[in-house]
């Protein structure tokens, strides 16, 4: 890594290059990469450069990522990174996303990891490819590398000669192991990184292009629909299927134990046949769900495995003021606007599945187990889907497409779940309980802290196991769901962000991991961090109130991390926190966290209006400051934070999965209301603190917890009552105010 670009490098002006590793020490320590290989990001798992970047003889550049576009703007950011380091226009790059036949295995697109894992790998690979191209040109032209530079697909010499990338690359040039260190383009010379490049996926989405797996139309494609049981553990006693069989267009009824589905020529024919079949099916059901009226008592009583997050010997010292509080969170759902969809095709012994899953490789393993095929006979290709906020029904629809494709060999079969199926069968975000106590000394400083969080799992993704797919539970030979395991720290699941970033001398933080799953649960955006940050940040306000301190000052008093202080300060300043005009019914609230204590820093200040008659709360405005490290696409970050705040507002004010002793009762948007246009705030301002040259810090989930807490704190400020149960519904507010 010695090549130095000439002064006349495209980059215009001096071409200083900086050399450093983008892998922060704590990521290395947590095993995010292969420490032995010492390679940054996902290069640790897939070290060959040509697994990431290929250049054809005609100069065409293809970049491969094992991550998926979920509408978070990943493709655009990765193209920016690759084009920057390869010194080409973004249009020169074709990006291939997650596909088991083509791309590296980068696990799941989850946990706000994509920029850290894939962005880092692609950046290093592109930078190293550029250096190799320059080296090859130097050998060809018999010039020192210092006299060459890269510019828009050409390596150009100081004396004016040039060779195209495609002429230099051959078969072997990029077929080399990545080095741990790269020579990056100097941040002061960036053309693309740090600019709000328009998203590459938006034009198709606003003009009716084929943007989603839902829009995939293969030749001679049939349509499948599944009849899901009316409740989790219902079994199919009998079904008289002849009426459905004789409907127009019906190709096949598939029954395997309690697994019931139909395939038809046209989509609406499949829907009609599915309805007919559902009406004819007789199920045996048991009232085996918890009593919703005593859900939290049930949760508190379930057996739990203890995970110690921090285990200082904590005593509440004499002479201190001890404050305590308990918080609760209902089950909440992803609720993508489009129900899950997939297309399967089984031909010549090979199964291909197109899916909006977050993890093509882990899904491939699960599908292989489900179908009995060898994994190398299963190809999983990711395409975009409707809103992905974690583990929703995508993998289950993929399993349905696989099974129905194998029931109709040769033909492609498209399956989409119905609205009530998505609502009642997707894995929810777990109900949770938190309890805390803290002691304040005479200087209003926190000297002791006890925190306990209780939750069911946040991780039942496919992980190569068929038992994590709904279809596997219903077949004649069922595969039960594997016992869940807690996600280890520092990422954590239910204990994600259970440890505050605040400086607290003594703390005992315990996670009670409940393996039972009366309702199906898994990863919903931010996992436990949403509830933990809501609890901690609500409690910080409760402590500030006892201390008689301003909530922002009180936080800063306990924050030593420089970057944390900066986002807090910026959000407060931009909001005009100190100058807040508290009219009747209005209140201000603040929330802060560093996501997972290792990703993006985010602080947010909000204003709410509380209607004292109805209890209705409206988020009026929000001002956030975010530090995502080096900001590749600032507008992409803003879009994620704006969306995160609005989604968190919806969760926090409205959302709770309803159920009775037998069934889920939140079956549609009337029984699971979410935020609508008339209730959205007047404005959301997001200040992006850019750190050129710093590691990327995952951002997609950073807003969820702080926004929830800020809203709760603003309600307390406006209404004078502290509400600790999520969602903070109008009924709860009205009851608390007591008008």
């Amino acid at each position: 890594m010695t090549a130095i670009l000439s002064r006349r490098a495209v980059l215009g002006g001096g071409a200083l290059l900086v050399s450093f590793s983008l892998l922060p020490p704590r990521l290395a320590a947590q095993g995010a990469g292969d420490a032995a290989a010492g390679l940054p990001g996902s290069l640790a798992r897939t070290p060959m450069l040509d697994a990431w970047i290929r250049i054809a003889g005609d100069g065409k550049i293809t970049v491969f990522t094992g991550k998926a576009e979920l509408g978070q703007g990943l493709m655009t950011a990765l193209i920016q990174i690759a084009a920057e380091e390869l010194v080409v226009m973004p249009q020169a790059i074709t990006l291939v996303t997650a596909d088991t036949a083509r791309t590296p295995n980068e696990g799941y697109t989850a946990g706000s990891h994509s920029m850290q894992d894939s962005g880092t790998a692609i950046r290093h690979a592109a930078a190293q490819a550029r250096v190799l191209l320059i080296g090859a040109a130097a050998a060809r032209l018999k010039l020192p590398a210092e006299q060459l530079h890269a510019d828009k697909g050409l390596i150009i010499s100081d004396d004016g000669r040039h060779i195209g990338y495609g002429d230099l690359v051959g078969d072997q040039l990029l077929h080399v192991r990545a080095e741990p260190q790269s020579t990056f383009v100097d941040p002061t010379l960036y053309r693309l990184i740090g600019t709000p490049m328009p998203r590459v996926d938006i034009p198709a989405k606003v003009t009716g292009g084929a943007a989603f797996v839902h829009d995939l139309r293969l030749p001679n494609m049939a349509h499948g629909r599944v009849v899901l049981p009316p409740s989790y553990r219902a079994t199919l006693r009998q079904v008289e299927s002849s009426a459905a069989e004789h409907l127009p267009g019906v190709l096949k009824i598939v029954r395997d134990g309690s697994y019931l589905a139909v395939i038809a020529e046209r989509e609406h024919q499949a829907v009609m046949a599915m309805r007919t079949l559902a009406a004819a099916a007789i199920w045996d059901e048991k009232p085996d769900l918890p009593d919703p009226a005593s859900l939290f008592e049930t949760l508190a009583a379930l057996p739990a495995e203890q995970v110690k997050v921090r285990d200082d010997a904590v005593e509440m010292p004499p002479g201190t003021r001890v404050v305590g509080a308990r918080y609760r969170r209902a089950y909440q759902m992803h609720g993508a606007i489009g129900p899950s969809c997939a297309v399967g095709q089984f031909a010549n012994g090979m199964l291909t599945v197109w899916t909006h899953s977050q993890g093509v490789y882990p899904l491939r393993g699960a599908l292989a187990q489900l179908t009995g095929l060898e994994p190398d006979k299963v190809r999983v290709i990711q395409m975009q889907g409707s809103g992905c906020y974690g583990h929703n029904g995508a993998d289950d629809a993929a399993a349905d497409a696989a099974l129905l494709a194998m029931a109709l060999p040769g033909r492609a079969v498209r399956v989409q779940w119905m609205r009530e199926q998505e609502h009642t069968w997707e894995p929810y975000g777990s109900a949770m309980l938190t309890e805390m106590r803290a002691a304040l000394d005479s200087d209003h400083r926190i000297v002791a802290w006890e925190y306990r969080v209780r939750s069911m799992t946040h991780a039942t993704r496919p992980d190569g196991k068929a038992g994590n797919l709904v279809a596997a539970w219903h077949r004649a030979r069922p595969i039960p769901q594997p016992a869940p395991r807690p996600i280890p720290l520092p990422e954590g699941g239910g204990d994600r962000n259970a440890a505050p970033l605040y400086t607290i001398p003594k703390a005992r933080i315990i996670y009670d991991f409940v393996p039972a799953m009366p309702l199906r649960v898994s990863a919903l955006r931010a996992l436990g961090a949403y509830m933990n940050i809501f609890s901690i940040e609500s409690f910080m306000d409760e402590l500030a109130q006892v201390a008689g301190a301003d909530p922002v000052d009180f936080r800063l008093k306990h924050l030593d991390d420089r970057r944390a202080r900066e986002v807090v300060d910026k959000a407060a300043t931009r909001f005009a926190w100190s100058a807040f005009d508290r009219r009747y019914g209005s209140g201000r609230g603040f929330g802060f966290a560093q996501y997972k204590n290792l990703a993006a820093y985010l602080a947010v200040a909000v204003e709410v209006a509380v209607n004292h008659e109805s209890g209705h709360v409206r988020l009026v405005r929000a001002v956030a400051a975010v530090d995502s490290g080096e900001a590749v696409n600032p507008d992409g970050i803003k879009n994620q934070i704006e969306g995160g705040i609005l989604q968190a507002a919806s969760w926090t004010l409205y959302e709770s999965v309803g159920f009775d002793r037998t069934r889920i009762t939140s079956r549609d948007w009337s029984s699971y209301p979410i935020l609508r246009f008339p209730a959205v705030p007047d404005s959301i301002e997001v200040a992006v603190i850019d750190r050129p040259g710093s590691p990327f810090l995952g951002t997609g989930e950073a807003a969820q917890g702080p926004a929830a807490a800020a809203i709760a704190n603003a309600i307390a400020d406006a209404a004078g009552v502290r509400l600790r149960d999520l969602p903070i519904t109008a009924a709860q507010v009205k009851a608390a105010i007591g008008v």
Binding site: R199, K205, V206, T207, G208, G385, W669
Partner: protein
């Protein structure tokens, strides 16, 4: 046979007259814009215009639509030549996953047709029927405002020419 007039073109379709329009648009005509969201008229992802009015295409059967002009997002422009509302959505980067967006654009099209210069409150009320789960609402409102301004500017510029 059912005759549908979609984006100005006439199509004779051999389908069950009870088929909701959405399935005819997607399945028979190969159009992607209108999306299945709920099948219940609760989310607006399937919104298209019939006689210039927004309808839930997941509910209305094709039998009711013979000879009535149907407009979908494909009728407003293309990725190479986007219409004013589509351009405004691109300019404001008003999408995350984008699944709801075609329905949003069609409802906004009807709104601007009725009220070329809506206030923000009128936009909120006009868009209330459509759900977005990614939280792109504020960008959508900005895009509609931007399109409204662009259309008014274009109308003002066109007026003197029309008189000539």
């Amino acid at each position: 046979m059912i005759t549908l007039t979609v984006n100005g073109a006439s199509h004779r379709l051999d389908i069950d007259p009870a088929t909701p329009l959405l399935y005819a648009l997607r399945g028979e005509l190969g159009l992607n814009g209108a999306k299945f969201g709920c099948g219940l008229g609760q989310c607006g992802a399937c919104t298209v215009l019939v006689d210039g009015e927004p309808v839930y295409s997941c509910l209305v059967p094709v039998a009711a639509l013979q000879g009535r002009p149907i407009k979908t997002v494909e009728g407003l422009g293309t990725a190479d030549k986007p219409g004013p509302l589509q351009q405004a959505f691109i300019d404001e980067q008003a999408a995350q996953c984008g699944y709801c967006i075609a329905g949003m654009i069609m409802r906004a099209e009807a709104l601007l047709d009725r009220n070329p210069a809506p206030s923000d409150d009128e936009i909120r009320a006009g868009m209330a029927a459509n759900l977005c789960r990614c939280g792109t609402h504020l960008r959508i409102i900005r895009a509609i405002r931007r399109a409204s301004e662009a259309l008014q500017k274009a109308a003002a510029a066109a007026k003197p020419q029309a008189r000539r």
